[in-house]
Symmetry: C2
Amino acid sequence: MVALGPIRSRSLIILKLRYRYEMLNDPVSLEAATKTLSTSRKSVRKREAIIRAAIEIINNKSYALATMSEIAAALDLRNATLYYYYPNKRALAYACHRHSLERFERLLHEASASNGTGLEKLELFIRSMLVESDRGGPLLYFGDYSYLESKERKVLDFWAVRLSDALEQLLKDGIADGSIVECETGLVVNLLLGMLIWLGKWVPSVEGLTVERLMNAIKSFSLLGIQSRDFPSSL
Amino acid sequence: MVALGPIRSRSLIILKLRYRYEMLNDPVSLEAATKTLSTSRKSVRKREAIIRAAIEIINNKSYALATMSEIAAALDLRNATLYYYYPNKRALAYACHRHSLERFERLLHEASASNGTGLEKLELFIRSMLVESDRGGPLLYFGDYSYLESKERKVLDFWAVRLSDALEQLLKDGIADGSIVECETGLVVNLLLGMLIWLGKWVPSVEGLTVERLMNAIKSFSLLGIQSRDFPSSL
DNA sequence: CCATATTTCTAATTGAGATTAGAATAAATA
DNA sequence: TATTTATTCTAATCTCAATTAGAAATATGG
């Protein structure tokens, strides 16, 4: 039972972990890193589970108030165990942001590639966002990465701008094909994102809310417009 | 130059400050506290300046990442000085929330009391929000008070619910008078709030944005509806 | 079953930032 | 001017959560 000194070199373990962390944190070599870890599916699963738990908690309490212990506890682990998967809290949060942006990007890409007017594509995107959030947990908001390192911030900012632009393009398509009214698309994209991001805060607290009801509310509020058709000249 | 021991009792000073803090933190006796301090307008000014700086910084970086030192620095003070005005960071943040809710309530009340359709009142409220934020800084979002004490949380929650209800009433008025389309007002209020709350995050970064342009974007996005009049049956 | 690699744990350590102690300065008042 | 009162400061201390050290447990492959 009593250990007789370090049996195997800890520094070697650490070195290997560092190597993995680097791979996983560097977008370019992500694929390679995954390949390296492909033997242990369990590890990948765990990493995903950690990210999901972290997003849930960080989204509720903000980065700084979410403790490693709390995230670990949500998975029945001790906080030290998290450091086996991620080198530090910041890196974990960074992974969460990237995870969210990936989901976001996938949905947006699918909607863009679909057939239909700009307005219909927009609706499809919003609907799939709702469905996805319903299952895979909240999409962490993107913006305010103040706690990240400048290099990480740049990656995320670049990414977020690209997504904003793609979303704006949907609006422009809609204006071009006549399905969306003329407007400052740059501003409207931000309004839309605000509405969507905020969903994560209040939707979970509404009992028995369905995607359909939520979608209808969004249509009433924005897509179809809140103004009654009987008062077309009001405002 | 050299002090010869405590000249006056510190405990007395502390006691007095504690008394003030209690007065200022207890909504009921706020008036009395103000009266007590009325002799020093300077003090009241300073307190307001602190709150404004704190809202600005907390809004940007979240409660936990905003440091007392940073807030103090924004006012050319050392962090210890803040403790002369507020007993601790939490109490300062609580004061910020209350300050925001008060502003919010005032604007909402004015809009409700105005003449016009529900839709027009709603527009008035949003417009005054924009103008106010433009001057007095961002309205701190209300929700997520996780770091506050349960007693404080209850006060704010109660308050926030009251404001939500009042806002929802505007929608219901609009539906009743025909200016707003039938919808689940409870959900739509949250969508609206999300959009408004998020303004604080992105508006400051848009160069040369005017209230008028922003208001037009909001109309396009939600009030007037994003859908083109030429495609009334789309979606 | 043995040897190795992987995963998790307990028990420190560390560090950053909130908070406090108490003096120094500035303002007000008599 | 002298004395009190209000405000701000410097220099600790204290706390809490991130992080690390290193051992224990568990899985895996020959």
